[in-house]
Amino acid sequence: MNAQEYYRTISEATHTIFEKSVTHCDFLGKVADYSASVQDWMDVISPNQEKHMIDHSLEQIEFSCLSLLSGMYRQSFSSLRLALELLFGAIYFSAYKLEYIEWRNGSGDLNWQTMNDKDNGVLSKRFSDAFFPELSIYVETQRNMTKSVYRELSEFVHGNYSTWNREKPSLAINEDLIEKYKCKFESISLISHFLLSMRYLKEVQIEDLHKIEPHVMDELQNIAEIRLIFGGTVEEK
């Protein structure tokens, strides 16, 4: 077997896994819908320089799903983490323009700790107070959820010992990891909609609200402060 044949054999193995996975995974629609949702968000917010980061984030979501279906789980989790980082980066840079320019020029980094900082990050009270003060009471929960998701995804990126145990060295379908991906993806979808709502919802023109309403309400209708923006009702306690 030469090198070409070797990789062709691997490719065939991934294709076999893909065929099994694609019928097994019941959440592909949700992944595709997430992309459509975020695109609708992009359509209703003012043009900004960071928008391309969100496009890249969506690309990474698709790559992560494709890798998952092909049985390349570590690569899948890695892309999912990058998708989360790029989305956080776009939101973070929308408020810190100087840092964006520095990052774009290559003189600054996209630093996860900074973006998710308790006091100044995108899920800080400071950030929420500036863009959607009523959501301040929820940011801690969202930040903790984000930390947890990010940590678990990082275990795969960094090759932690436990991840090698889970993932057999051969190419094979792994239902545990597919389930794990589904769970992490759902959390990311929730966090993303919360983040986009907190940062931009109050800036969306009233006549455009209906375009994002199905997406936002699908994820966050249990938050009364968000429901109110769309004309929903809340109960006086």
Binding site: L28, G29, K30, A32, D33, S35, A36, V38, Q39, S46, D55, L58, E59, E62, F63, L66, P133, E134, K202, E203, V204, Q205, I206, E207, L209, H210, K211, E213, P214, H215, M217, D218, Q221, N222, A224, R227, L228, I229, F230, G231, G232, T233, V234, E235, E236, K237
Partner: protein, 540 residues
């Protein structure tokens, strides 16, 4: 005690909703009706669980999608109060656009279609075939949306898809994607007290009828206007949600609902004091939201605390919804206020006196029911309809003969309102709960003296002018009420913007031009705060 009861279905995350469902016979029947192919209208006053059962049906359909191939779509007309147009076509288009958007969303989530412009890794050309269905519907939505963007301008209907196009599009989806049907759940279908919009909604409900579409709607009693094209009992299966306090499993069902939500400490406390729970359950007259509200107000579980809660809630708080209605629709204020006086001063007093007399005489049959002659003035009927809408009273049945063989309607007054009149509500409830007899009721004839104080002006429904009047009053409010920072308010005042109306009438560009430090984002935040205030008031 538990304070985290869910008062509204929307507060519950969908994945947790089934954990709170009590599969009683009544609720199961309603859920099954919602899951069936029959067009359905469910009527119930606020807080009786309409939205909850709708969501249960939707989730159960989702869970067996692979087997049944029924696509459930939940549509809430939350923002309908914002659509201010006298052109019926525009509102109809607004509704249709909303329905289609929600259907598209569900199709995408199920993986049945993929939005072409949202797929990053494929070019449009590669994805054209798959996207055909979605593109067709997107075009329909855009056409509708463009038609209602310019309120005031009448709609040019040429080129805009009509209802048969929408039905055809849904049929194409079902046949192409091998779906049995699309079930559309319209919640808050008539939550905005606006007759013209309600009539248009029910016309659309009927027009959407097809083998591939099944519509379901939740409505309020008393004030839902179906219009001349829709007959609820013929064009749909009509069902009321009535949790009857006379049913043998009533208290047990309410207890199960409580157990699903309460924390261990509260459960244990009421377990030891079941009769106190029973009193609160009966007091709510079948309204879970009211039960949870009164339960969460009990800081301790003892007779004194429960009685205090019953007095404060059923003497005052129960009326807040009703009184708010009068503030919102000024033209109906006199009617609404009269309704409260009639119930408090005449009905409750008479029912309470009757029960006290029965008890004194050693007779067992007690009541929470009253009867109204069918020929009472229309204004009285309208008042009773409004009381049913806010849930203070419940209509039991029509065509009931009274003690003089006259025909009229029988109503039920909130059990808790009656208890609140007694010095010992708990003691009273123990006797009342066991001895209720629906055949005993106080009677109010066609010419009861109480009606004289109600002005017999010509009856008119809430019209757009009245909505406009309410809106006008809101527009006159000072910007102080808005959710803006002090700096923003100060800056607005400095350029002469002092009311919501003046803020709405000024362009974003003018704000940017005239106020130093304000650019696009702040200008929009300011304007959106004004609109949000208006919206909150109208749809609260």
């Amino acid at each position: 005690m538990t304070t985290g009861f869910y008062y509204r279905t929307e507060d519950i995350r969908p994945e947790k909703l089934l954990n709170y469902f009590v599969d009683s016979q009544l609720d199961r029947e309603i859920v099954n009706l919602f899951k069936s192919s029959a067009p359905t209208v469910l009527e119930g006053s606020r807080g009786t669980g309409k939205s909850f059962l709708m969501m249960v049906a939707k989730i159960e359909l989702e869970n067996c999608f692979d087997e049944l191939k029924v696509l459930p779509v939940y549509v809430a007309f939350r923002g309908s109060s914002l659509v201010h147009t006298s052109d019926p076509l525009q509102f109809r288009h607004w509704m249709l656009a909303k329905v289609i958007r929600d259907v598209l969303k569900e199709l995408r989530k199920k993986g049945l279609i993929v939005s072409p412009y949202a797929s990053s890794l494929l070019s449009d050309n590669t994805n054209q075939d798959q996207a055909g269905l979605e593109n067709n519907l997107e075009q329909v939505v855009l056409a509708y949306e463009n038609s209602y963007k310019n309120t005031g301008k009448s709609v040019d209907a040429t080129g805009i898809p009509d209802i048969s196009d929408v039905r055809d599009a849904f049929e194409e989806i079902c046949t192409t994607l091998n779906l049995e049907r699309i079930s559309i759940f319209f919640d808050e279908a008539a939550h905005v007290f606006r007759p013209e919009q309600q009539r248009q909604f029910f016309t659309l409900f009927r027009d959407l009828r097809s083998p591939y579409i099944s519509c379901k709607a939740a409505v309020y009693p008393g004030v839902t206007h179906y219009g001349s094209f829709f007959e609820p009992t013929h064009d749909a299966t009509f069902r009321r949600i009535e949790r009857d306090i006379l049913e043998s499993d009533y208290v047990d069902t309410m207890w199960k609902m409580f157990q699903k939500q309460a924390d261990e400490q509260t459960k244990s406390a009421f377990e030891k004091q079941r009769s106190l729970f029973n009193t609160l359950a009966l007091s709510s007259s079948g309204n879970p939201r009211i039960l949870f509200k009164t339960l969460s107000r009990c800081n301790k579980v003892n007779t004194s605390e429960v009685e205090t809660v019953i007095r404060s809630y059923y003497r005052a708080d129960i009326w807040s919804e009703h009184t708010k209605l009068g503030e919102k629709y000024l033209g109906h204020k006199a009617l609404i206020d009269w309704g409260r006086n009639f119930i408090e001063n005449y009905v409750l007093a008479a029912v309470h006196d009757k029960n006290q007399w029965q008890l004194k005489e050693g007779k067992e049959e007690l009541t929470v029911y009253f009867w109204i002659h069918k020929d009472v003035p229309e204004m009285v009927k309208e008042t009773l309809r409004l009381l049913c809408y806010t849930g203070t009273i419940k209509k039991i049945d029509d065509g009931v003969r009274n003690s003089h063989s006259k025909i009229g309607s029988r109503y039920e007054i909130k059990y808790g309102c009656l208890l609140a009149l007694d010095p010992n509500p708990q003691k009273y409830s123990v006797v009342l709960g066991k001895n209720l007899d629906i055949r005993r009721f106080n009677e109010f004839g066609a010419n009861h003296p109480a009606y004289q104080s109600l002005s017999q002006r010509e009856l008119c429904e809430v019209q757009d002018e009245e909505i406009a009047k309410t809106v006008k009053q809101q527009l006159q409010q000072d910007i102080e009420v808005l959710d803006l920072t002090d700096w923003q308010k100060e800056k607005l005042r400095s350029v002469g913007v002092t009311t919501i109306e003046s803020l709405l009438s000024i362009d974003e560009e003018d704000l940017i031009r005239n106020i130093h430090g304000v650019r696009t984002v702040r200008a929009r935040t300011m304007k959106n705060a004004a609109i949000a205030e208006l919206l909150e008031y109208l749809s609260g």
